[in-house]
Symmetry: C2
Subunit: 361 residues, 2 copies
């Protein structure tokens, strides 16, 4: 890959989510779609055509062929989670940078194999958690980092739920134990967990305790669950995720001096602008006849949707590695791993009858 | 008390909160301030004058004198919780209707003695949970009861926190083990618990599990805590309350078909109007490029502040009892008792090392 040329992406599989991410690759100025591979070449051809892939994009009848294409710099891997270990490791071994759809692995031991393969092959790893890249996220972090406006973090509550509907419960990979075995925890809970870690500056909690009475489908996959997290220093967090509850995508952070709320953190209601709400030094009015301030709305606009920014940031890191012969950025694998560690602790707590579980390293 | 005459209130003690509630008595069309008693008659005189009591209001140098005044129909009791049992029972025995400030008692066994005294003396009991009486609360309940707009309740999260400040931690009754021994749980947690029960149509949860790592002050009073509640049927709730976290007063309800959010449920930002926010049948846009609907704001105006409505409802019940020689309304003692049962379960769970506790009857 020569300097100033866009990073060339290969896509493994014809996942629904890849429609959105391939659009992001078309929108990102420093990325292009180089190839797609599916076990069915006809499916891949149809998919490429439906999703506006450039004529130059190669269409392959296997995942291997994408990995073997020397013109593919980076791979986007949206396959079911149970296939991540195999294909992510293979991609890294073929020296392809890896944009890995979440949930990234079935557990941290699998993820560690993936991360080791990426590190030893000098390729960049990033999980495809889009909201991290919305400029709103940085603006919110500014607020949370402000000792005057927010103070010290005390509490976080996060919710990601949606009413998935009957078709989903019949056919979606997210409710199949052999495909996405972490169910709603891996899907929606991934975001809640990431939101909590993000608010806590990625400091792992000491203990994680699953909420009692998660809901499972008839084949034992989680379809509603939650947990509480504690850091041992007065910070606590809770989250709730479900495939059965109307769409809610909230983060509520409480600090000693302020609070922050957001209601569409995973996918903004609107593509070009995202809101969040803050209040600082709130007090009761005289005689407690009211209180204030009324939370302020902050609207953050973005020229590119968050998923295009994600692709662009990832491609930028790759260009920098290639240009400078430098090492991959370690932040992204580190926070991905921490997210997985918390998910693992939730599963472990459920298995141990909702006892508190120390978060691993 | 003759028909159409306002209910005549006696107030026990010169509590800060009674300034607001005595104002409410002046605003409510069917109530009047008849008397106030304090252990110091000078303090009571000053208080009556500062708070615009009518000239006709009696000022007594003891609580007993208020209870012995035959022209007092009802007593408002805002004393520290540790004194509630004694004075509430005495008030009931003197045939005074009882508006009891929260937290109503140190535990349900104390509350039961109060409720028994009220019942056997035929007096109305109500706890002073003001937000129950805001017309917004009824509007929100309409939404939660709508099978199309909200569906079945799945989750509730409630927060009530405020940054109480150094003066509070030195002197306030809410952090003194011999006065308000339930600390932030009895104060702020009372509202969260009531909100959750309200959302669940006052069905008690099966189990309550305290969140780990509550914070205590140096004399062992709770200053931050939380809990999860479960009903055993897929409904779960969590709450967080604190004296250390910037003011937040949220209820977030998730149903199968909708959600509801409110950010000032305890004390509305503004006295004459209260907002809440709902969304129904939310879905992702095509390709998940957005989602909707954006939550709708509902603004509910009120001519009288919620505390005046509370006084008015309470006075109305009393008038009805006196007029018709009928029994007191049982709803109010029942929901007060359920709230106390949940608080007791939180305390018990903390004492048992954060194990789940079955909620008593």
């Amino acid at each position: 890959m020569s300097e100033n040329k866009p990073v060339r992406f290969g896509i493994l599989g014809c996942a629904e989510i890849a429609r959105k991410v391939s659009r992001a690759m078309r929108l990102a100025p420093n990325a292009t779609i180089q190839a797609i591979g599916s076990r069915s070449i006809d499916k891949a051809k149809k998919y490429a055509s439906e999703n506006g892939f450039p004529d130059s994009a190669k269409v392959y009848g296997s995942y291997e062929a994408v990995l073997d294409d020397p013109e593919v710099d980076a791979v986007y891997l949206p396959l079911p989670t149970s296939l991540h270990l195999k294909w992510a490791v293979l991609a890294a071994e073929k020296k392809k940078h890896l944009l890995l759809e979440k949930p990234v692995a079935l557990n941290v031991s699998e993820l560690d194999k993936i991360l080791e393969a990426c590190e030893s092959n000098g390729v960049q790893y990033m999980d495809a958690t889009m909201w991290m890249h919305h400029p709103r996220t940085a603006k919110m972090k500014e607020f949370l980092s402000d000792p005057e406006r927010f103070g010290k973090l005390k509490s976080v509550h996060s919710i990601f739920s949606y009413d998935a509907g009957p078709e989903f419960f019949k056919n979606n990979i997210r409710v199949k134990p052999d495909l996405d075995g972490l169910g709603c925890l891996g899907d929606a809970g991934w975001y809640c967990t990431r939101a909590i870690l993000w608010a806590a500056d990625y400091e792992l909690p000491k203990t994680v305790t699953a909420l009692r009475e998660p809901e499972l489908n008839e084949v034992g996959v989680l379809i509603t669950c939650g947990a509480s997290l504690s850091w041992g220093d007065g910070r606590i967090a809770t989250f709730y995720c479900s495939f059965l509850t109307n769409m809610t995508m909230d983060i509520t952070c409480g600090g000693t001096k302020g609070n922050l709320r957001i209601h569409d953190f995973v996918i903004p209601f609107q593509e070009n602008v995202g809101q969040f709400y803050t209040a600082s030094k709130s007090t009761f009015a005289q005689l407690s006849l009211g209180c204030g301030p009324i939370p302020s709305e902050h609207a953050v606009t973005t020229d590119l949707p968050q998923e295009a920014l994600m692709v662009s940031v990832f491609a930028g890191l790759i260009s920098s590695i290639e240009r400078n012969d430098s090492k991959p950025e370690k932040k992204w694998p580190a926070i991905s791993r921490k997210t997985q560690l918390v998910l693992d602790a939730v599963i472990s707590s459920i298995q141990k009858g909702f006892q508190p579980v120390e978060v691993g390293n």
